[in-house]
């Protein structure tokens, strides 16, 4: 491989900087979301069902952040991992769906 030119070196550095910003932003987002979940549970006067729904939603957002920003799912050539993650999530979803809908004795 030939030595990278100044421009590509510069581009590479810029890219790394951007990556770092993404990491930091998503890290603080996650802290924030976790904090919100704890607050929702701790706070009185909110309906239980709402709390459950709320924290599950936050959890889904967190998982997405984790996968896309920390585990590089947003990068190029990650089609296969994405395919398998979504297939797995789908199978897990219908399994859970079966357990909450058709288990005969509840």
């Amino acid at each position: 491989m030939s030595k990278p030119s100044n421009t590509s070196l510069y581009m590479e550095r810029q890219k790394r900087k951007r990556e770092l910003t993404y990491y930091l932003v998503s890290f603080f987002m996650m802290l924030l979301l976790t904090g919100l979940s704890f607050a929702a549970v701790a706070m009185k006067g909110i309906e239980k069902h709402f709390t459950a729904f709320f924290i599950v939603t936050l959890a889904v957002i967190q998982v997405a952040f984790q996968l896309y920003y920390f585990m590089h799912l947003k990068d190029k050539n990650h089609g296969m991992p994405a395919l398998f993650i979504y297939s797995g999530a789908f199978v897990a979803f219908i399994t859970v769906l079966a357990f909450v809908s058709i288990v005969w004795i509840s």
């Binding site: 398998f84 199978v91 288990v103 005969w104 004795i105």
Partner: protein, 631 residues
């Protein structure tokens, strides 16, 4: 060191038995692991076959007292469990290991170490399960092990079932992941997904099904484990548990499991029929599409095993429709095979006989499958011999016929010698006719009301004649299998040496290299130019497949004893838990389990800190080897 008849049959004269044992215990070569899977699965096949013969012996006469009550239940349970988990599964892994890396032009699988670990976990899982015969009785709740029967009413045999399957299941899961990574990442240049041979495609989809289905089994087994040993109440209705959940979990695993078994057989059929028709596979794209669709639908139909549980008409209807939908992609495949043969120069070798006989046999199993998919009819058929006939038609008439086709087809590539064709044909006809004589009458036994899993019937019920016919057929199958064993021994002793392109009409990359494949598979990674690359090159007048790289040193993984030791550790853990009856022995048995866990962690630690970067086979050595090999 290549896998050949000499190295397999007798220890190397120079180094003795110990060296021979060491080679096989430490190997990480996918070709050797394939041989291990084949003979491991073969061993359990003989055990499961003997169990089948015992069942037929008991059912030959009404009110027979040969195997009664618990003894019959044990034999029946072990027959089912062994045949599914310790015969069909390792056999498909045998062919995936032997063939997939060669078909995609790779030098090994992605994780050779994990591959070896997968084999040893499977094998020791099977040993754990079968040791139950000598240690207080085998499991007796059927291969499905429904709770609460399996959790509250049965003895130690069920602990053997749970832990044996848990260990073997972990191995299978590893194998599945390994092949996914291998097929995604290690294809030779030019080998796009839509140029992959169909066996590789089915191996890919099967591995994906393993990845998604086996965790359900793991969870289900763990729940039984906790219910049995630690007073968990997952399936105990009196304490708020729900035993229907086990049925769901089991079939969410169980239905994909049967497609995990049949898909590689479909792949083998596609290869064998195309090779022996001297034609390109008809409708390659639709075959790929059908394979993926079957894989997807596999997860949509599990409730058809539970129609009579009482989940309501809506659930039953949805799952009945989804089940019938599977007939569509399967039909696509059947027609494509027939069209592949149409106008081809068909050669009826033993492999092709097995492949062609698969088609009508599997269609019969499929038709009874559609009958069973109708909930209203299923209320009549369920738990009768009709179901037994159905699943033996799809598993023996489908999976096993396909695997035997693959066995005769790839044997020369795996061992460098062709199985004897005359013995092969005797084997085929005895097995095939014996199979139909055994299982065809069972449809009618079921319709006449003979319930599944019962150990006997009464003389006045008119069930005797067909049961006798069925048992006679079983003898035919046994003669077929014995002929196969004779054939294998005969071939090792004086079989014909095979060419690289053993059948002369090989189409895919595995036939472009010597038989048996050298340790490094491809001296140069091939450049793939289309579907059936090797055939294309032959038609272009080339003797060899175009190389994608210059000849150079080949990097190989080092052999390791760690996979074997890790599997032994988990076996020790299993025995610790199996003998943890509530009471005095508990501390001792938990200590044993603890020792096993410590050993396991120790092995993992050694594996993590030991730096082993493998070794190189040098260019000169490769040139020397290639010269010496028959081409």
């Amino acid at each position: 060191m290549s896998v050949n008849a000499e190295s397999l049959m007798q220890p190397n004269q120079k180094n003795g038995l110990f060296s021979w044992l060491k080679t096989w215990l430490t190997t990480v070569d996918h070709k050797k692991i394939a041989v291990l899977y084949l003979f491991g699965g073969g061993l359990f096949f003989l055990i499961g076959g003997i169990e089948a013969m015992l069942i037929r012996l008991q059912l030959t006469a009404p009110e027979n007292h040969f195997l009664t009550g618990s003894a019959y239940n044990q034999v029946l349970t072990m027959h089912g469990t062994t045949m599914i988990f310790f015969v069909a599964m390792p056999m498909i892994f045998a062919f995936m290991n032997a063939v997939v890396p060669l078909q995609i032009g790779a030098r090994d699988v992605a994780f050779p170490f994990v591959n070896a670990l997968g084999f040893w976990l499977f094998f020791l899982g099977g040993i754990i399960l079968n040791l139950s015969w000598f240690l207080g009785g085998a499991p007796e709740a059927g291969w499905t092990a429904y709770a609460p029967l399996s959790t509250e009413y049965l003895g130690r045999g069920m602990d053997f079932y749970v832990l044996g399957l848990q260990v073997a299941g972990a191995g299978t899961l590893m194998g599945g992941i390994n092949f996914l990574v291998t097929i995604i990442n290690m294809r030779a240049p030019g080998m796009t997904f839509m140029r992959m041979p169909l066996f590789t495609w089915t191996a890919f989809v099967t591995s994906a099904l393993i990845l998604f289905a086996f965790p359900a089994l793991t969870v289900g087994l763990f729940e039984i484990f906790f219910d049995r040993l630690f007073g968990g109440n997952f399936f105990n209705a009196t304490n708020g548990g729900n035993s229907i959940i086990f049925e769901h979990i089991f079939w969410i695993f169980g239905h994909p499991e049967v497609y995990i078994l049949i898909l590689p057989s479909f792949g083998i059929l596609s290869e064998v029929i195309s090779t022996f028709s001297k034609k390109r596979l008809f409708g390659y794209h639709s075959m790929v599409f059908a394979t993926i669709l079957i894989g997807f639908l596999a997860f949509m139909v599990w409730v058809h095993h539970m129609f009579t549980v009482g989940l309501g008409p809506i659930a039953n209807t949805i799952f009945a429709l989804a089940t019938m939908a599977i007939a569509v992609p399967t039909g696509i495949k059947i027609f494509n095979w027939i069209f592949t043969m149409w106008g081809g120069q068909i050669r009826f070798t033993t492999a092709n006989l097995y492949a062609v006989s698969f088609i009508p046999t599997f269609v019969m199993g499929g038709v009874t499958g559609v009958m069973l998919a109708i909930p209203a009819a299923d209320f009549q058929f369920q738990d009768s011999y009709f179901v037994v006939a159905h699943f033996h038609y799809v598993i023996v008439g489908g999976v096993i016929l396909g695997l035997f086709a693959g066995l005769y087809y790839w044997w020369p590539k795996m061992f460098g010698r062709c199985l004897n064709e005359t013995l092969g044909k005797i084997n085929f006809w005895f097995f095939f006719i014996g199979f139909h004589v055994t299982f065809f009458p069972q449809h009618f036994l079921g319709l006449m009301g003979m319930p599944r899993r019962y150990f006997t019937y009464l003389p006045g019920e008119h069930l005797t004649t067909l049961n006798v016919v069925s048992s006679i057929g079983a003898i035919g199958m046994a003669i077929g299998v014995i002929t196969l064993v004779v054939n294998i021994v005969y071939t090792f002793v004086k079989g014909e040496k095979a060419e690289g392109d053993a059948w002369g009409t090989g189409r895919t990359l595995e036939w472009s290299i010597p038989s048996p494949a050298p340790e490094y598979n491809f001296a140069q990674t091939p450049l793939v130019k289309g579907i059936d690359t090797y055939w294309k090159e032959k038609m272009d007048g080339n003797k060899k497949v175009t190389a994608a790289e210059p000849l150079g040193d080949v990097h190989m993984p080092s052999p390791s004893i760690m996979p074997f030791l890790m599997s032994i550790s988990l076996t020790i853990v299993s025995f610790g838990f199996i003998f943890s009856d509530k009471g005095v022995h508990r501390t001792v048995s938990f200590a044993v389990a603890g020792i096993g866990i410590a050993m396991m962690l120790g092995c993992m630690l050694v594996r993590s800190i030991k730096d082993d970067s493998g070794f190189h086979i040098h260019k000169e050595e490769i040139i020397e080897t290639e010269k010496g090999m028959s081409k």
